[in-house]
């Protein structure tokens, strides 16, 4: 995987996807690229944190339930590291209460899978502009 550092001056903003599901990691980056973003996918929060893409990431598409460090765990970790990356949670579990909690905790949005491409675009734009 090409290192984020190697990127030359990017006019494309980097959206990172952290999800343990392979089909998500497979499909989302292509859609994001269609939107005009750069995209990176990670199978776990640990991988993301261990990568050199953290600083570059302008928006994080984050799964909620993952083995090991969960989505909300990563959210807390980033706050602790003072990396205020806007987070859009994506989850298959349609729980309105959890969604509200996540947003209260600072998430920009919590999308329920399956979501439409337009919903995704709106959320990403919101994330990039609501800093």
């Amino acid at each position: 995987m090409e290192s984020c550092q190697e990127r030359s001056a990017i006019d494309r903003l980097l959206v990172s996807v952290v999800d343990d599901d392979s089909s998500v990691r497979e499909s989302l980056p292509d859609l994001l690229k269609q939107f005009g973003f750069a995209a990176r996918a990670f199978s776990s929060a640990e991988d993301f944190l261990a990568s050199d893409c953290v600083d570059q990431t302008r928006c994080l598409l984050l799964d909620v339930a993952m083995p090991g460090m969960t989505g909300p765990d990563l959210q807390q970790e980033l706050i602790r590291r003072r990396r205020a990356i806007p987070i859009i949670f994506i989850t298959a579990d349609r729980d309105m209460i959890v969604r509200r909690l996540l947003i209260e905790q600072g998430a920009v949005e919590c999308l329920f899978k399956p979501f439409s491409d337009t919903a995704l675009l709106e959320a990403v734009n919101l994330a990039l502009h609501s800093k």
């Binding site: 343990d20 599901d21 089909s23 998500v24 497979e26 499909s27 989302l28 292509d30 859609l31 269609q34 339930a65 993952m66 083995p67 090991g68 298959a92 579990d93 349609r94 899978k113 399956p114 979501f115 439409s116 491409d117 995704l120």
Partner: protein, 709 residues
């Protein structure tokens, strides 16, 4: 004058002498008194001889018919030798003749060679008693005074002889009487001794012996009753029913009735009573029997009876009766009938309960036609099976048999027979079977199976709720991928220029994910569809993999690290695939839940399949969780047992039932380290199935041959 004086003086002397003699004669009875005849005669003859200076005196005494007359003769020496008394008497008789009336008062005869004057003196009025003859040689014999003396002497003799005779008669009679009395006494004594012996025997009999007078009053009662009852002889004999005081109050009325009927009718009686033993106050059963003794006219003389202790027999009878009643009752309660067949006589015997089960009249002769009229036409009857077994080479052996009855009303009864080959006391072979109507149980089992399916369904539905997250993930992941890829595809196609390569790729993913989804849905539908249990050959590894696929997302969400260790070449098992998968799912979820609070070590969940001993297959789910209390090991599998706050705890109980219906067992063990392992072991599919029309009818695997894998 002197001569006359002398003559007068001589006369006076002569008279005086005569009177003296008379007085003597009159005193004779005193002498004779109490003496016998010979004494009388003796005294008489001597007196006459002396008194009258006789030369001969004889007496002939006639005695009663059979006896010879007594003849005695006294002769003075002056007569010289004389013939015998008998000859003399005969001569005298001849001279005098028989009739005493014609006897002359005086007779001159020649006796020996002398002339004597004989005076015959008849004894008795007609001389019937005999005769005395007094004779003297002197010519003036007898003088007047002498004649008088003779006459008086004869009278006295007659009286004396009669008396003596009477006395002797009396004596004889008295003797005879004495003899007879003595004899009688001896007889009586002998009889008495005999009686004593008998009485002694009666007293010593081990039974109570007694007699009753015709009115029922006891007469003789032997020791045995008196000692047993503590009643005195006087008490028992005081009244006919006095002895009944020892009879149990509840038996008195019947006893009294039998007693009086027997006594009054003269028939005697036989009745059983409980009678009280004085020694310890206990009541024991006795048989009281009396028979009647009648005289020649048929009048009742006595009742003779015994009272026998039958308590032991009675209690044994009671026990036997009770145990028979228990057996019959037990048969009825358990709906178990007894069935026996003797090959030698082809004789079939049924107990009452069996007739009831077959709904046939109790006691009907059991024939093959009768049996076939009740047994389901598709099934082999028990008797036919017995005959088959009997003809096998090993001869008689024990076996079980199940068959159905088809009743006239078309209802079905399920029979379960357990048969035992045995030999009876004559050495003849016999098959004895207990046959139980297990219809209720079969129906109950059917109902239970149905209920368990329902319950399993409910459990499924409950776990369905818990699996909602998994389903959501399972379905939504590919769905999400589909939508994302499809959106991307459209955008790529709408780009200028269209990104065909990308479009193709995204379209491909879409189709792939679509297929994946329908697989998942199909699997989920299969798992959660309510179905009758079926039987098929199942590859347990495949089943495990499917379950893993279904639950992997949930497991991962719980940070469970699943480690499958599936044996290669695992034998197939026979069973219901879906039910077995439910069990696996249950075990996986339980393992996962057990680790939900574990933070300090990996949440490792091992699922292992392997061959097990005895042609079985074992599956184990082993977690690294909190384990369980060894004391509560049994209760783990109870319905509704749960350590979870929310769960209904149905899973393990249902799982165990499912495994048991697969002829297997499900158990839990604690690991050496943290956590527990739940395992089940079920038989592999045998090389050839006997019958496979429903799990219930699958026979346990037979011993397989050398070719078995």
């Amino acid at each position: 004058m002197d001569v006359q004086d002398e003559q007068a003086g001589g006369e006076i002397k002569r008279l005086q002498r005569c009177i003296n003699d008379l007085v003597s004669l009159l005193a004779l009875p005193a002498i004779w008194s109490g003496g016998d005849i010979s004494q009388v005669l003796d005294t008489l003859l001597n007196t006459l001889m002396r008194m009258l200076r006789l030369d001969l005196v004889s007496v002939r005494l006639n005695l009663p018919v059979v006896e010879a007359p007594i003849e005695i003769v006294r002769v003075s020496q002056s007569l010289g030798p004389m013939p015998s008394a008998h000859e003399i008497c005969e001569a005298l008789n001849d001279s005098l003749g028989d009739s005493s009336r014609r006897w002359p008062p005086l007779l001159r005869n020649v006796m020996g060679d002398r002339d004597v004057s004989m005076v015959p003196l008849p004894l008795g009025l007609r001389g019937e008693l005999g005769m005395i003859v007094a004779a003297a040689q002197r010519s003036d014999f007898p003088q007047q005074t002498e004649a008088l003396l003779l006459s008086v002497a004869t009278s006295q003799a007659y009286i004396g002889l009669q008396e003596a005779r009477l006395l002797s008669q009396q004596k004889r009679i008295a003797d005879e009487l004495d003899q007879r009395v003595a004899q009688r006494t001896a007889e009586l004594a002998a009889a008495n001794a005999e009686l004593q012996l008998q009485v002694g025997l009666l007293q010593s009999l081990p039974v109570s012996a007694w007699t009753l007078k015709p009115d029922g009053t006891p007469d003789f009662v032997n020791r045995v009753w008196l000692e047993y009852s503590g009643q005195s002889l006087d008490f028992v004999r005081s009244r006919p029913d006095a002895w009944m005081a020892a009879v149990h109050p509840e038996d008195r009325e019947t006893a009294s009735r039998s007693f009086w009927e027997g006594v009054r009718s003269g028939q005697g009686f036989a009745m059983e009573t409980r009678s009280r033993r004085a020694r310890d106050g206990t009541y024991r059963w006795h048989l009281n029997q009396a028979v009647v003794l009648r005289d020649a006219e048929g009048t009742v003389l006595k009742f003779v009876g015994t009272t026998t202790d039958i308590d032991d027999q009675k209690r044994a009878e009671e026990k036997l009766r009770r145990s028979e009643a228990f057996l019959a009752e037990g048969q009825r309660l358990g709906q178990v009938g007894s069935y026996s067949w003797r090959p030698a006589t082809d004789e079939i015997t049924w107990s009452a309960e069996l007739y009831r089960i077959y709904e046939l009249e109790i006691g009907m002769p059991v024939t093959l036609e009768l049996i076939r009229s009740r047994v389901h036409p598709e099934d082999v009857t028990l008797i036919e099976k017995m005959k088959m077994v009997d003809q096998t080479r090993e001869g008689g052996r024990d076996f079980e048999w199940r068959y159905r009855l088809l009743m006239p009303d078309h209802s079905i009864k399920y029979m379960h027979a357990v048969a035992h080959a045995t030999r009876d006391q004559d050495g003849q072979s016999e098959y004895m079977a207990s046959v139980q109507d297990v219809t209720a149980r079969s129906l109950a089992e059917e109902a239970r199976d149905k209920a368990q399916s329902e319950l399993a369904n409910v459990a499924r539905v409950m776990s369905l709720g818990a699996l909602t997250a998994s389903i959501a993930h399972e379905v939504n992941q590919p769905l999400s991928g589909i939508i994302t890829n499809a959106s991307t595809c459209l955008r790529m196609l709408a780009a200028d220029p269209p990104q065909l390569e990308g479009a193709r790729e995204t379209a491909r993913r879409t189709i792939r994910d679509g297929n994946r989804m329908s697989e998942v849905i199909a699997r989920l539908r299969a798992l959660f569809r309510k179905k009758e249990p079926t039987t098929e050959s199942v590859n347990l590894n495949d089943a495990v993999l499917e379950v893993i696929a279904l639950s992997i997302v949930e497991l991962q969400k719980n940070r469970v690290m699943l480690r499958p260790e599936l044996a290669d070449d695992l034998p197939l098992v026979t069973g219901d695939r879906v039910q077995l998968q439910q069990v696996i799912l249950n075990l996986l979820r339980n393992g996962s839940d057990a680790m939900s609070t574990v933070e300090d070590r990996p949440r490792q969940l091992v699922i292992r399949t392997e061959r097990d001993d005895g042609d079985r297959v074992r599956l184990t789910v082993q977690d690294a969780g909190i384990g369980f209390d060894p004391q509560a090991a049994d209760r783990l599998f109870d319905p509704f047992y749960t350590t979870k706050g929310d769960g209904m705890g149905i899973g393990l109980s249902v799982s165990r039932s499912i495994i048991e219906r697969h002829h297997g067992r499900l158990w839990a063990t604690l690991n050496d380290g943290p956590g527990a392992a739940f395992s089940f072991s079920i038989p592999r599919t045998p090389e050839g199935l006997v019958r496979a029309d429903g799990i219930r009818n699958i026979q346990a695997p037979a011993v397989t041959g050398p070719g078995a894998a």
